[in-house]
């Protein structure tokens, strides 16, 4: 209860401050809209289905892109962790590649795939793949050796060993990396969508700018934050709780 009260007080104060600043009319309303202006923009956006379509398009893209990243990243990470040569050579490359903002892949993606959905997916994948790979590599190393020994001893090998032992055993160690990968995927997607007529949330955000509609801009920003927050809160918090129940503790989160 106390927790909820704190939340309510904080956000009420924030809204109050916002309203006050807007009402003081220091800046013109088309640059600094009121909270209800943004509320109306949100309502209008959902009412004419623009936002629904944008959310659906963006979510579909991020799910495909992130999904590919997770599968590829796990295979790559596992490969790098279990091969000394790869670990020494590719390990460093992966870390240095992570310093590259994912949108730097955009020009390359455009030339390779053309101005279409595949270019966006490519940027999303490049944004999150490295996080997942590095997390998996680290998770494989942190995972107690006894699990893979016990698994092999009980007759698991090859894909069975990976699916029934290595993957579940490393999950507590990679969940934070998966979470980071998701955040990168989501950011990369919005960035890439802002760059061309993509129908996604990124484009709707830019549309607000083109129409000089600050309320719409802020409305879409709120949507982007809200979706990121909900996925984190529902999917990843749920996963952490699930792991906690099974393992008794969640290491490395």
């Amino acid at each position: 209860m106390k927790h909820a009260a704190r939340y309510i007080i904080f956000y009420a104060a924030l809204l109050g401050l916002w309203t006050l600043l807007a009402e003081l009319k220091i800046w013109p309303p088309y640059l600094f809209p009121t909270p209800w202006g943004v509320g109306e923009a949100l309502y209008a956006g959902f009412a004419d289905h623009t936002y629904w379509i944008a959310i659906r398009v963006s979510m579909a893209r991020v799910l495909i892109g992130y999904g590919i990243s997770v599968v590829l990243g796990m295979i790559l990470g596992l490969g790098v962790a279990s091969n000394k040569f790869l670990e020494e050579t590719m390990g460093g490359l992966l870390v240095s590649l992570q310093s590259l903002p994912s949108i730097c892949w955009w020009p390359l993606a455009l030339l390779w795939f053309g101005l279409n959905q595949n270019a966006i997916l490519f940027v999303v994948i490049m944004g999150s793949l490295l996080s997942v790979t590095l997390a998996m590599e680290d998770g494989r190393k942190q995972m107690p050796r006894i699990f893979s020994q016990a698994g092999r001893n009980l007759g698991a090998s090859g894909f069975k060993l990976f699916w029934y032992v290595l993957l579940p055993a490393s999950l507590p160690f990679i969940v934070s990396g998966l979470k980071q990968g998701w955040a990168f995927a989501w950011r990369s997607l919005i960035t890439a969508e802002m760059l061309y007529l993509s129908l996604g949330l990124g484009q709707v955000l830019m549309m607000g700018r083109d129409l000089n509609d600050m309320s719409a801009v802020i409305a879409v920003m709120i949507l982007i934050i809200a979706i990121g927050y909900v996925v984190d809160g529902v999917v990843f918090k749920g996963m952490e709780r699930h792991l906690h129940n099974k393992w008794g503790l969640t290491p490395a989160t």
Binding site: A156, K160, W247
Partner: protein, 271 residues
Amino acid sequence: MKVALHHICLSYRAQSGERLLALDHINLEVRAGEFVCVVGPSGCGKSTLLHLIAGLHLPTSGQILVDGNPIQGTGTDRIMIFQDHGLFPWLTVGQNIEFGMKMKGIAKAERREKTQQYLRLVHLGKFEHSYIHQLSGGMRQRVAIARALATEPDVLLMDEPFAALDAQTRDLLHDELERIWSDSGRTIIFVTHNVREAVRLGDRVVLLTFRPGRVKNEFLVDLPRPRHLEDFDVARTAREILDELREEINRSLEAEYQAGIKPRIEPGVSA
């Protein structure tokens, strides 16, 4: 012979670059249904020996035969029970016991039935749906035993399975293990640093030397069963073995002492 080790050597490269010999020409033969205990000071390679028999590592030279055939990697005829149990925390007790059967491709209905049977065998019927972290140390080791037995191995390889347990729990598990062993007729190779435990459980006790591990001596334990840790004869036999083991322990302590003594503050330098 159920299990036969011929001239097993294992060497590895230490961090300093020199080759260290961990096991030196180990010869060991274990009859079907025999309960053999391997004792030695810590660092003598007795756990490593079990890993080799399990097929988790390869020996540098020598041959390991099971039923006269050289082993090819791991096999569910030889199941290991680890000191820290190695149970899978993401699975329930029941699913852990089922794991080996699932890997073997045994049908679900049969798996269920066997799981129930082994749960009852180790008195954990009520804990089928619990997770490992919810169990006590003794219960965890009983699950590990059930999980190993459920794959119906010929040979059980036990690596100091009761070392981390309190004395009462260990007594209980000794009784249970002895009962399961005599009912099932399986071959057990049991590694421990506790001589009393080795005599209480084993038909034979094999004593390894400290680094490199060699077979120093073997003792037949011809005492009636069921035995108890506090039996006079158990204590007396343990005493005999312990006298020989003590030399090895002293050697291991000396080695540790010498390794630890090297970096010293020079005399005359005040702190």
